[in-house]
């Protein structure tokens, strides 16, 4: 949590509960005295909880952003499938995280490697439920990063199994290293002084590494690369949806970062500003890189640049000054363009650019948090800790995900059949089509039977 400075606004916030108490007392008649249990502390806690829940709702809304962005980047015949994956990430993820994930991540962590309490949270002080709610949204965000990467050719059931494992185990284990110890103990990375305020590594890089493992396991879409190795562009079916998704993600990011304070503190102003600067600079960085590389300035690359900027600023938004937030975002955006081209050259078919945005943005952002910490600029020791955290995220998230997808593939084939790819996963997996009126003539699918 960032240090809270005493500004006039801060003073107002601090005196606000007292003012409310006085007003309550003045307004109260003889029969309606102020609740004797109501204290400044309880009002502060209540205000904090309101903010955390509101921020959690904003993070929840990011799922809609992902759904719009990813479905718009896919072909029309796979729209429903992409949206179902996003929706179910959240639904299955909520149960998995409540049952297992939260305990692994935030439970008593004596060893520094894993939480051992807080599973299926039940009958605990009410104040603890808010934290579970907020963190549950984070977990779903991490898992859903995979869905867009492997869109249009992945079997739904196999995907969901993977998503549940990410939410229940892969994400929480790394989370316990970096953030763990809410109920005692401390994660080993946290002990070393690892800085990742809202999850550039914990949420985004972990999700991105899992996405890379999934991409390698499932292979490219049919015909994405010609037999001679030439990449073929497969245009998304609705770029308006993509833009809408990016806007929603951006809005949600204010909750993602500013909500990570866990309190309605005055510091959320700087965090929100830095978040915004990071996103804006990410788009500018991506555009600049496209121009430098003599590429067309595409909207999709620009939007991905801004998301990479948002990912990048997530780790250090509480400790950076706005100028460095801008620099962090710009570099993340520029790197996302280079990474996207590199992946294509390696014949990795990432439909939405999840790896280039979340892995590259996440790793860079984590390093930048160590470099541009306003209180400790360019500290090589801190940079070393940050690099160690990035390496740990890669080894754990990528390695565990590769193993997981290999095991899943043994039981349920991860890859949809060529017939399903021909028909579109909307029809073959969900028996619905995204745009029935417009797709009446869609002939790559059979006759739908009631």
């Amino acid at each position: 949590m960032p240090p809270i400075s005493s500004t006039p606004l801060d003073l107002f916030f601090r005196s606000f509960p007292r003012l409310m108490l006085v007003l309550c007392a003045m307004a109260g008649t003889g029969a309606q005295a102020a609740d004797p249990g109501l204290t400044l502390q309880s009002l502060k806690e209540a205000t904090d909880m309101v903010w955390v829940i509101a921020a959690g709702a904003l993070v929840f809304f990011m799922q809609a952003g992902f759904a719009f962005l990813e479905s718009g980047m896919a072909r029309a015949k796979n729209t429903v499938n992409v949206i179902m994956k996003n929706y179910c990430d959240m639904c299955f993820g909520a149960v998995a995280y409540w049952l297992i994930g939260y305990g692994l991540m935030f439970g008593a962590n004596a060893s520094g490697w894993l939480g051992t309490s807080g599973f299926a949270l039940h009958r605990v002080p009410e104040s603890q439920y808010g934290s579970l709610f907020f963190q549950m949204m984070f977990a779903a965000t991490s898992a859903t990063i995979v869905s867009g990467a492997i869109a249009e050719r992945t079997r739904f059931s196999a995907y969901i199994v993977g998503s549940v494992f990410i939410t229940a185990i892969i994400y929480p284990v790394f989370g316990s290293w970096a953030w763990g110890g809410l109920y005692g103990g401390e994660g080993w990375l946290k002990k070393l002084g690892f800085i990742d305020f809202a999850g550039s590594s914990v949420v985004h890089a972990v999700g991105g590494w899992a996405a890379l493992a999934a991409l390698i396991s499932v292979g490219p879409r049919l015909g994405r690369f010609a037999p001679d190795g030439q990449a073929r562009h497969i245009q998304g079916h609705n770029l308006t949806l993509v833009a809408m998704g990016a806007f929603i993600l951006w809005i949600g990011w204010f909750g993602f970062n500013a909500g990570s304070t866990g309190a309605a503190a005055v510091g959320i102003g700087k965090i929100a500003l830095n978040t915004h600067m990071g996103g804006a600079a990410g788009a500018l960085g991506a555009m600049a890189m496209l121009v430098l590389m003599r590429r067309k300035v595409l909207m999709t690359s620009t939007l991905n640049g801004s998301i990479a900027g948002l990912v990048g600023i997530t780790a250090g938004c509480h400790v950076m000054e706005p100028a460095f937030a801008l620099l962090t975002g710009a570099v993340a955006g520029a790197l996302s363009v280079i990474a996207a081209e590199t992946l294509v050259a390696m014949k990795i078919d990432d439909v939405v650019g999840a790896v280039s945005v979340h892995v590259v943005g996440g790793v860079w952002g984590t390093l930048a948090a160590g470099l541009f910490n306003a209180d400790d600029m360019f500290n090589p020791a801190q940079l070393g800790v940050q690099a160690l955290g990035c390496l740990a995220a890669f080894v754990w998230a990528f390695g565990a995900s590769m193993l997981m997808y290999w095991l899943i593939n043994k039981v349920v084939p991860l890859r949809a059949s060529t017939l399903d790819e021909q028909r579109g996963l909307d029809f073959s997996e969900h028996h619905e089509v995204g745009y029935p009126e417009f797709q009446a003539d869609a002939v790559h699918r059979g006759v739908q039977r009631a």
């Binding site: 073929r232 021909q422 002939v443 790559h444 699918r445």
Partner: protein
Amino acid sequence: MEAVTWALTAYLEPPQARQAAALWQRPASTDASSVLVGLSRYCRQIAQQFDLQGREAELHLRIIRALQAQSRAQPPNDPFARQAVDAPVSSPLESSSATLMQRFLLAIEQHVAQEARPLYSPQRWRQSLIQDGRKVPPVAMQQACDWLWGRTSALHGDWPARGAGTRLINAAYVTMAEWLGPVRADACFTQIVREFEQSRDPALTNIRSYL
């Protein structure tokens, strides 16, 4: 001449086929493009004279196939190749499903030939299609190979929807997606199906049930 006669027997009675084949004049140049241009002209002429309008592209592909089959003993990389199969000179199509499949595959090949002109050769296309047809039941695939390699003049067998027929069409889709990319493959697929559904041939209008 023999190959052309054999190719035409799928469309014409034997006397007519011989008469039509007599009109074939091999171009003086052996250059492939000259042969193709001459063949296109010949197909248009045959179609007009023998009431085969609209089937010029099919004729074109069938004659190319017959000419190639004549000059080759055994197709390479054909897992279904038999030791010795005599191509019947005239064999009527066994079922409407076989007609549908044959026409659909020819239509796809025609699109590929147009859109992947530098890469396309009938032999390469057939090899790709056979490789992608691994999920087609072996007996059915054997019949498809016999036709693809010109050992039979028409596709034989029963090709039920949601069975071998659907599998073979999917194999053709996969091959087309690899050759043209998935976006063009979808577009070509859509166009072919629309044309089939709008055709007056009752054997073709049922195409959607095969997808």
